[in-house]
C-alpha cells in the first residue's frame, strides 16, 4: 500500500495530544465574550449608539478613509471649462465698491484675481478714502470664524425652514416688533425696512456703537437739521479741534485728503491747526500747536473761547493765539469738538456761527447721513425688552451685547423677547444669545448702495461668489415681508429710474442732484456748559487699528502697531509720566527687547476693570487716562478673543469721557506689551529734518542743509566723494519714491496695504514682543526731547548724561512720523555682504531679493543702516504655532498670487512692489508706448490718502517724483554714509510762529 505523506504542525500533533485535538475544533483559542457584550440588555438599550449607528459610523469612516486616500498630495488647478469672458488667469480685475460697517465709510476699488478679492484701494472719484481698517477688510472676508449656514438655537438649519418659522411667528407675535440696525445709509435698504415695518407695524431703531448724538441734537436745535454737517478742512486756514480726532477716528469719512490739501507749504501757506485734547491722538500729533488738557478743562476752554469771542471774557492764556487767529480768519476757520454732549456742541455751533463759518467751511445744506443713531431710543428699547413689551427683535449690523454700556441688561432683556433674530456674519457676542442667526454677507459678496452724504451715492457690488450659505440682510427682510423680489432686482429697479445703472455701478460713485436741506438760521439757544471735574479723568478713544472693534478678528489689524504708542495686540491705559510717577507706575524694557508695564485696577463710577495694563504716553494730559475701545471681544473668533479689555462698559451717559469718579490703583503683576519701538526720541540725530513755515518761506532749504565733506578737492557732496565708477541710472527707468513728512499723518493705511499686497506674515504677540515683527514698511514715530545738543552745551553736560536725558521725551512733545521701508540704496551695504549674491541691484535702481537663493546668514540685515530687512525665523505659513490667516485654507485665499510666500530661514524686505511695476511695464510694452507717470505705483503710494508717498520714474522728466527730487526740501535718510538711496524724504514743515 502507498504510504500517504503527512505533515504535522508539531510533535504534539504527531502524538495526537488531546489538547491539540480539541483546539482543532474551535476557531478561537480564547472564547469570544459575545455574551457579556450583547447579552447585557440594559447596556445595549441605554447606549446611545445602536448597532445600526455603529454600522453607519463604520460605513462612514470607511468611506471617509477611502476618500481621504483618494486625495493626491499634488493640488491640481482646474481650468475653466467655459472661460468667463471677464476673467483672464493672471490678470487682475478691478471692481468699484463701497465699504460701510456703521463706523467706517469709504469708496474703494477692489482688486480680484481669478475671482478672489485680494486688495482694496481708494476710489479716486470720491474723497472718502479707505483707512487702515477698510484696507484690511478684505481679509475679514476670508475669516474662518464666519458663519457657514443659518443657525437656529445654535443648530444648523435651512433658509426655507427658518423663513417659514420666522414669518409665522412674526405674524402672530405679541408685543412690538423691533428692527435694530446700525445707521442705514442705503436708500433701498431703508425702503425695504420700511415695507417690513409697515407689514408688521414694526419699529426701526438705529444705533451707533460710537454715538454722535451730541452733534445731531445740537444741529437739530440750532438749525433744525438733525444731521452731521459736511466739514471743509481744505477751505479752513485755521482749524481748532477740541479733541476731535478727525484724522484718526472722528466720523471716519476720510478727512485726510481735505486736510492735507491745505498743508502744502509750496503755496507759501498752510492751514494752522490747533488741537486741544486729552489723549495723544493721531490728529493731535499732526497739530501745529497741541494743548493737552483734562476733559473737564477742555469744556471750560470751549466756554471761555465762546465767551471771549462774544466779548464777555478775555481769552485764557492758552487760547490767546487761537482767539486772535480765529477772529482773523472769519469764514475761513473751523472749530470742531468730539464731545457727545448736546450743550457742548451747541456752544461749538455758536462759535462757528460767530466766525460765520456756516456755508463756508461747514455745510449743513449737504450734510452726512452717517451716524444717525438715537441713544434714547436704544435705552428705551432695553427697558421695553426687560418689561416684556418687545415681542420680536431683529438685529443687524450691530453688536449691542458687546458695545452697549449696559450690555447685561440688554442680554437679560433679550431672554424676555420671544423671537430674536440676528444677521451677524459670525457668532458674535449678541448672536450667541439669539434664537435665529441668519448670516449676512460680507460687503465684498453683496449688492448695495449708500448715500453717506447729501447728493453723493455709491454702490457696492459682489466681487466673489458667496463663500458660505449666507444671505444678505436685505434679501432676508424681503423674504420675511413676503415680497417675491430679490434684492438685486429691487436695487436695479430703484436706481434704473434715477441714473445710468451700469455706468454708476462701474464708477461706484455718483453725484445726484437732490433738493438741498434748508437749515434755519442759528437759533442761538446756547446754555453755558457746567462740568464737574475730578483729579483723575478718563477719555475713551478708538484705536487706529480696531476702531469700534467690528474687525477684531482680523490678524492684520491686531498686529498693526498703533501709530502713536507703537504697540499692537493690546489696549491699555495711557498716562502721562507725571501721573505715572504719582501712582508709582512704570514701563520697562527687558533684556530680550520686550517691554513690560504695571497693571492697575480701574474704577469708573461703579464699573471696575481688573489688571488693566498701563502705558506711559508722552503728551497725555496730566491727571488723565486714556483707554481704547474695540478690544476685549469675547466671541469674535480665534484671533480677536481675549485681546485687551472691553472699555464700552465705561461709557457713562453716552459720552466717551468720565470727568469724575475715576480711580486707578496699582495691582500686583505685570503686563507684557507687544511694542515695535522701544526708543522714542531721535537722540539728537537729524533723521527727520524739520522747520517752520515762516523759515521755509524765507529759505526753502531751511532745516535741510547740504551734507558736504572736506576733501583735497574741497567741500564735496557725499555722492561726489565716492571711490567708484558709478553704474548708469540715466537710461531706462529709475524708480524713486518720495515721502513727504509734512503731509504724512501716520495713518497706517500704507502699512496695511503693504501687508496685503506682499503676503507679509502675521507673527503674533509673543514674536512681536521679541522684536520680530515682519512689517516691510514701518512708520517710525519720534518724540521731541527737552534735551538737545544746544541745551547740553549751555548746561555743560557730559555726553553720558546728555544722551541719558535725550532718551526721555518731553511731557508734551512734538511728534514726527517717518515711514521707513527698504531705501533701495544704490550703494547697498546689504548687497555687498551677501556671500551667495542673493540680493543684488537692478538696472532700474531697485534692490532685489532672490528668496530661493538666500541661505539666511542675516549678514545683510546686520549691515542695513535702516534695519528694514526681515528674517523668517520660523515657517509662518502652514504652521500651527502661527495660527493666523496663512494657516487655514480660507485665509490663504487672500494671498497675492504674484508674490511668493517666503519660507523659513530666508530674508525678506520691501521690493518696491516690483510685481506691480512689472505689470505696468508689460502693459506699456503691449500697447507699444512709454510707461506713463503715476501708472507705476506701489501698494503704499496707492493707499496713501494724503499723497505723501509719490512713486515714479525720475528719468521721466515729466513725472511728479522727478520734480520732487529736485525740490529744496528733498533729503536722503542718513545721507552722510552715502548709501545713495532710491527713496528720499521731504522735510517736515510745521506751521509755527518761529
Amino acid at each position: 500500500m502507498t504510504k500517504q505523506k503527512k505533515y504535522w504542525k508539531g510533535l504534539a500533533e504527531l502524538t495526537n495530544d488531546p489538547a491539540i485535538e480539541s483546539l482543532k475544533h474551535n476557531e478561537f483559542v480564547e472564547p469570544i465574550p459575545t455574551e457579556e457584550f450583547l447579552g447585557d440588555e440594559k447596556a445595549l438599550t441605554q447606549s446611545t449608539t445602536s448597532r445600526r449607528d455603529f454600522l453607519k459610523f463604520l460605513g462612514f469612516s470607511t468611506a471617509a478613509a477611502t476618500l481621504a486616500a483618494c486625495e493626491t498630495p499634488v493640488v491640481k488647478s482646474i481650468p475653466y471649462v467655459v472661460k468667463p469672458e471677464e476673467i483672464t488667469p493672471g490678470v487682475a480685475n478691478w471692481y468699484s465698491s463701497t465699504y460701510y460697517d456703521g463706523n467706517d465709510f469709504a469708496n474703494v476699488l477692489v482688486k480680484t484675481r481669478e475671482g478672489r478679492p485680494i486688495f482694496i484701494k481708494p476710489n479716486d472719484l470720491s474723497s472718502a478714502t479707505p483707512n487702515a481698517r477698510v484696507v484690511s477688510s478684505v481679509l475679514s472676508l476670508y475669516d474662518s470664524n464666519r458663519l457657514k449656514t443659518p443657525k437656529k438655537k445654535g443648530q444648523t438649519t435651512a433658509w426655507s425652514q427658518i423663513d417659514e418659522e420666522i414669518v409665522t411667528r412674526l405674524s402672530d407675535v405679541d408685543g412690538q416688533v423691533v428692527v435694530l440696525t446700525n445707521t442705514i445709509i442705503s436708500p433701498t435698504t431703508n425702503a425695504i425696512i420700511n415695507d417690513f415695518c409697515e407689514k408688521y407695524d414694526a419699529k426701526h431703531i438705529q444705533y451707533d456703537a460710537i454715538s454722535y448724538q451730541g452733534i445731531l441734537d445740537a444741529n437739530q436745535s440750532s438749525f433744525g437739521v438733525r444731521a452731521i454737517p459736511s466739514y471743509h478742512f481744505d477751505k479752513s486756514d485755521v482749524i481748532v479741534s477740541f479733541g476731535a480726532d478727525f484724522l484718526g477716528s472722528w466720523l471716519n469719512v476720510g478727512f485726510e485728503k481735505q486736510y492735507a490739501s491745505n498743508r502744502n507749504p509750496k503755496n507759501g501757506k498752510m492751514s494752522r491747526h490747533f488741537q486741544i485734547e486729552t489723549n495723544m491722538s493721531l490728529t493731535g500729533s499732526n497739530a501745529d500747536v497741541r494743548i493737552p488738557v483734562k476733559p473737564s478743562e477742555k469744556l471750560r476752554l470751549i466756554e471761555n473761547l465762546y465767551q471771549s469771542i462774544i466779548g464777555n471774557q478775555s481769552p485764557d492764556d492758552r487760547l490767546k493765539d487761537i482767539y486772535s487767529e480765529l477772529l482773523a480768519a472769519k469764514g475761513k476757520s473751523l472749530v470742531v469738538c468730539d464731545s457727545n454732549d448736546k450743550d457742548v456742541q451747541l456752544v461749538i455751533n455758536a462759535i462757528n456761527n460767530q466766525l460765520s463759518n456756516y456755508g463756508k467751511t461747514i455745510d449743513l445744506e449737504k450734510p452726512y447721513y452717517l451716524k444717525a443713531g438715537d441713544d434714547e431710543l436704544v435705552n428705551q428699547l432695553v427697558k421695553d425688552m426687560n418689561s416684556g413689551q418687545v415681542g420680536a427683535l431683529i438685529i443687524s449690523g450691530v453688536n449691542p451685547s458687546y458695545t452697549l454700556p449696559n450690555a447685561e441688561q440688554f442680554n437679560a432683556g433679550l431672554k424676555k423677547v420671544s423671537l430674536t433674530i440676528s444677521t451677524a456674519l459670525s457668532m458674535d457676542e449678541t448672536a450667541q444669545y439669539v434664537e435665529y442667526v441668519c448670516p449676512d454677507r460680507h460687503y465684498l459678496e453683496s449688492w448695495g448702495d449708500a448715500r453717506a452724504k447729501h447728493g453723493e451715492v455709491s454702490f457696492t457690488q459682489p466681487t466673489i461668489q458667496p463663500l458660505f450659505d449666507s444671505r444678505q440682510f436685505q434679501d432676508s427682510m424681503l423674504s420675511w415681508s413676503r415680497s417675491n423680489e430679490d434684492y438685486y432686482t429691487y436695487l436695479k429697479q430703484y436706481w434704473r429710474e434715477k441714473t445710468a445703472w451700469s455706468q454708476s455701478l462701474h464708477d461706484g460713485f455718483i453725484t445726484i442732484s437732490e433738493s438741498k436741506k434748508s437749515p434755519t438760521s442759528f437759533s442761538g439757544n446756547v446754555v453755558s456748559i457746567t462740568q464737574n471735574s475730578g483729579d483723575l479723568e478718563l477719555a475713551l478713544y478708538q484705536s487706529n487699528s480696531l476702531g469700534d472693534g467690528t474687525q477684531a478678528n482680523n490678524p492684520w489689524l491686531q498686529e498693526l502697531p498703533d501709530p502713536i504708542t507703537r504697540a499692537c495686540w493690546d489696549n491699555y491705559i495711557t498716562v502721562s509720566a507725571t501721573t505715572a510717577r504719582e501712582y508709582g507706575l512704570s514701563n520697562w524694557n527687558n533684556n530680550d527687547g520686550s517691554m513690560d508695564g504695571n497693571v492697575v485696577r480701574l474704577t469708573v463710577g461703579n464699573t471696575t476693570l481688573e489688571n488693566v495694563p498701563v502705558l506711559i504716553q508722552p503728551g497725555q494730559a496730566i491727571g488723565t487716562i486714556g483707554l481704547a475701545l474695540g478690544y476685549g471681544r469675547t466671541s469674535s473668533g480665534k484671533v480677536g478673543n481675549a485681546v485687551g479689555i472691553n472699555a464700552y462698559p465705561l461709557i457713562t451717559n453716552n459720552d466717551f469721557i468720565a470727568p469724575s469718579n475715576v480711580t486707578i490703583e496699582k495691582m500686583e503683576g505685570e503686563h507684557g506689551f507687544a511694542s515695535v519701538q522701544l526708543h522714542h526720541t531721535m537722540m539728537g540725530r537729524s533723521l527727520i529734518k524739520e522747520t517752520t513755515l515762516s523759515e521755509y518761506i524765507k529759505d526753502p532749504k531751511a532745516g535741510n542743509p547740504d551734507i558736504t565733506f572736506y576733501t583735497h578737492k574741497g567741500k564735496l557732496f557725499a555722492d561726489e566723494v565716492s571711490l567708484w565708477k558709478e553704474f548708469d541710472h540715466e537710461s531706462g527707468h529709475f524708480w524713486n519714491l518720495s515721502i513727504d513728512l509734512t503731509t504724512c499723518i501716520g495713518c497706517n493705511a500704507c502699512v496695511v496695504a503693504c501687508h496685503s499686497e506682499n503676503n507679509v506674515p502675521v507673527v503674533g504677540k509673543e514674536e512681536v514682543r521679541k522684536s520680530r515683527d515682519m512689517h516691510w514698511l514701518r512708520i517710525d514715530r519720534y518724540y521731541s526731547s527737552d534735551m538737545t545738543e544746544e541745551i547740553a552745551e549751555e548746561q555743560g553736560l557730559g555726553s553720558v548724561s546728555k544722551y541719558k536725558a535725550m532718551e526721555v521725551p518731553s511731557e508734551n512733545p512734538d511728534v514726527a512720523f517717518q515711514p521707513v521701508m527698504c531705501q533701495h540704496c544704490n550703494h547697498a551695504p546689504c548687497e555687498t555682504v551677501c556671500p551667495v549674491a542673493a540680493t543684488s541691484h537692478s538696472a532700474e535702481g531697485l534692490n532685489h531679493m532672490a528668496y530661493n537663493r538666500c541661505v539666511g546668514t542675516r549678514y545683510c540685515a546686520n549691515n542695513c543702516p535702516y534695519k528694514v530687512r526681515r528674517f523668517n525665523w520660523f515657517n509662518y505659513a502652514e504652521n500651527d504655532a502661527f495660527d493666523f490667516n496663512m494657516n487655514d485654507d480660507l485665509g490663504k485665499m487672500v494671498l497675492n498670487p504674484d508674490v511668493t510666500v517666503r519660507v523659513r530661514g530666508v530674508m525678506e524686505k520691501c521690493s518696491m512692489c516690483i510685481q506691480m511695476i512689472q505689470k505696468v511695464k508689460l502693459d506699456a510694452k503691449r500697447d507699444g508706448r512709454k510707461v506713463l507717470d503715476k501708472e507705476a505705483q506701489t501698494a503704499c503710494s496707492v493707499a496713501c490718502p494724503t499723497n505723501a508717498l509719490v512713486f515714479g520714474d525720475v528719468n521721466d522728466t515729466s513725472s511728479e517724483v522727478s520734480t520732487l527730487k529736485e525740490d529744496e526740501r528733498q533729503y536722503y535718510l542718513l545721507e552722510e554714509i552715502n548709501t545713495a538711496p532710491s527713496v528720499f524724504y521731504q522735510t517736515k514743515i510745521r506751521n509755527r510762529k518761529a
Binding site: G593, H680, D780, R781, S799, P835, V855, A861
Partner: protein, 457 residues
C-alpha cells in the same frame, strides 16, 4: 651639532636619553587611561550630546529658537565663531612662527598646540554653518553655478572670504600637523607589540604612511616643515584679518573700524596662547610630561600673553580715541553706549580680563606660578569671549535709527550650543591625548644634546 649657551635654562629636565623620550611619549598611547581622564571625558561627552540636541533642535525648528531679532541678527553664534577661530591661532603660530625664529622651546608644545588649533577650527567652522537660516543649502557658498543657471557666489562678500580663509587655514594646519606626526606615528608603530595589539599595529602603521626615517626623507621632511611654516605664518595673520573684515568692511558704527585686522590678530594670539596654557597645564599633570613642559615653557608663553594682552589693550584705547576724534555722532554714541549702556557689564568684564589682569604677568613670581597662570589663562579666555560679544551685540543693538534699537538675551539653545561646543572640543582633545604622540619626539630628540639638563651640567 649646534651648541647653546649654558645660562639658558634647560628645556628638558632629568637625565633623559633618546630612549627615555621615546618611552615617555609612547606611554600615554600604550598604557591604560587613568580615572581622571575618564571623568573629564565623561563630562565633555555629556556637553557634546547637549550640543547635538541643541543644533538638531535649531535646524529642525528654525533660527527663531535663538534669542536673535530684527535688529540683532548675530549674537552668540558669531561670537563663538570668532572666539574659536581666535583660539585656533596659537597652534600654527607656535609651530610656524617659532620654527622660523628657531625657538627650541616650541618643540615640546607645538604638537598639542596644533592639535588644539585643528579642534578649535572644527568648532569655529560649525557656527557659520548652523547660523544659516537654511544650512542644507550651505553648498551655495562654494563657487559653483547654482541649479537655476549661472548664478555664482559673490566674491565681494567678506563672509565668502571667510569661507576661503577658514577652509584654507584648516586644511593647511591639518597637513602641517600631519607631516610632523608621521615620524612619531612610525615610532609608536614600532613600539606596539603586534602579538598583543594586532589592530593598533595595523592602525599606526597605516597612519605612519610606512615612514622609515631614511636620510633623504628627513631632508625633505625638514624642507617641507620649513616651507609650510613659511606659508602658514602669513596665513595665520590673513585668517583673522579676514574674519575681522566681516565687521571692518560693514557700515555699522563700532564695526566699521580700520584697526580691526591687527587688533583681531593680536587678540587671536592672546586667546590662543591662553587656551594652550589651559590645556597644557592640565595635560602635563594628567599625562605626566612635567619633564618636557617645564615652568620655563609656561613662563615664555605668559610673556607672549602679556605682550599680546597689551597690544589688545592699546587697540581698545585707540578705538575710543578714534571714535572721539572722528567727530561722527553715531561712532561716538556707539562707544559711549558700550561703556555706559545696557551692556556695560560685558564691556568692563572684557577690560578687566584682557587688559588689567595680564599686567600681573610683569611679576616673575606670578608668571612662573603654575596655579596662577592657569587661573589667569581662564580669565583671558573669558575676557576674549566677551570682547567678541561686545563688538557684535553692543554695536548692533543700537545703531543708526533709534526706532530699531533693541536688546538681545540668549535662550537655552544659544547656551547649549556654546557650552556644547566646548564639550565637543574637549572630547576631541582628550581622544587625541590618548591616541596621538602628544610631543614631537623626533624633533625633540634633536635638542637633547643642546638643551637638556644632563648635557648642560
Amino acid at each position: 651639532m649646534q651648541k647653546e649657551s649654558p645660562i639658558r635654562e634647560p628645556l628638558i629636565l632629568g637625565n633623559k636619553s633618546y630612549h627615555d623620550i621615546t618611552v615617555d611619549v609612547a606611554k600615554p598611547v600604550l598604557a591604560k587611561a587613568n580615572k581622571l581622564w575618564w571623568i573629564v571625558f565623561g563630562i565633555s561627552l555629556v556637553l557634546f550630546i547637549w550640543w547635538i540636541l541643541s543644533v538638531g533642535y535649531t535646524i529642525g525648528t528654525g533660527i527663531g529658537v535663538w534669542g536673535l531679532n530684527k535688529t540683532i541678527g548675530w549674537a552668540w553664534d558669531i561670537t563663538n565663531f570668532v572666539w574659536w577661530v581666535g583660539i585656533g591661532h596659537a597652534g600654527t603660530l607656535i609651530s610656524a612662527v617659532l620654527l622660523l625664529f628657531r625657538q627650541k622651546w616650541r618643540l615640546s608644545i607645538n604638537r598639542s598646540a596644533e592639535a588644539m588649533t585643528i579642534f578649535a577650527v572644527v568648532q569655529a567652522a560649525m557656527f557659520p554653518l548652523i547660523h544659516m537660516g537654511r544650512p542644507w543649502l550651505g553648498y551655495f557658498v562654494f563657487p559653483i553655478p547654482n541649479n537655476f543657471g549661472s548664478l555664482w557666489v559673490n566674491f565681494n562678500s567678506p563672509l565668502l572670504w571667510d569661507v576661503f580663509a577658514i577652509s584654507t587655514y584648516f586644511s593647511v594646519s591639518l597637513v602641517f600637523w600631519y607631516v610632523g606626526l608621521i615620524p612619531d606615528f612610525a615610532m609608536i608603530r614600532d613600539k606596539v607589540n603586534e602579538k598583543y595589539w594586532p589592530l593598533r599595529k595595523k592602525i599606526y602603521s597605516t597612519l605612519s604612511f610606512g615612514w622609515s626615517g631614511r636620510a633623504k626623507d628627513w631632508q625633505r621632511f625638514e624642507e617641507v616643515s620649513l616651507v609650510l611654516a613659511g606659508l602658514a605664518t602669513p596665513l595665520v595673520f590673513s585668517v583673522h584679518s579676514i574674519v575681522s573684515f566681516d565687521f571692518a568692511t560693514s557700515v555699522i558704527p563700532g564695526w566699521h573700524t580700520t584697526i580691526f585686522p591687527p587688533y583681531f590678530v593680536a587678540g587671536a594670539v592672546f586667546s590662543g596662547f591662553a587656551m594652550v596654557q589651559t590645556l597644557l597645564l592640565v595635560m602635563r599633570k594628567v599625562v605626566g610630561l612635567e619633564a618636557y613642559i617645564t615652568v620655563k615653557h609656561v613662563e615664555y608663553m605668559n610673556i607672549v600673553i602679556m605682550l599680546t594682552g597689551n597690544l589688545v589693550g592699546i587697540a581698545y584705547l585707540t578705538e575710543l580715541f578714534m571714535a572721539w576724534y572722528s567727530g561722527v555722532e553715531f561712532e561716538q554714541y556707539a562707544f559711549l553706549n558700550r561703556a555706559t549702556g545696557p551692556y556695560w557689564w560685558a564691556y568692563w568684564s572684557m577690560m578687566t580680563c584682557n587688559v588689567i589682569s595680564p599686567q600681573l604677568m610683569w611679576f616673575k613670581k606670578l608668571r612662573t606660578n603654575i596655579v596662577f597662570t592657569f587661573i589667569l589663562a581662564l580669565f583671558v579666555n573669558i575676557g576674549m569671549w566677551f570682547e567678541r560679544f561686545v563688538i557684535i551685540v553692543t554695536s548692533l543693538h543700537r545703531d543708526y535709527l533709534p526706532s530699531s534699537w533693541s536688546m538681545f538675551s540668549p535662550t537655552f539653545v544659544d547656551i547649549g550650543i556654546f557650552v556644547g561646543s566646548i564639550g565637543f572640543f574637549f572630547v576631541l582633545f582628550l581622544l587625541y591625548s590618548r591616541t596621538f604622540p602628544v610631543i614631537a619626539q623626533a624633533e625633540l630628540k634633536t635638542i637633547v644634546k643642546s638643551s637638556s639638563e644632563q648635557y648642560k651640567k
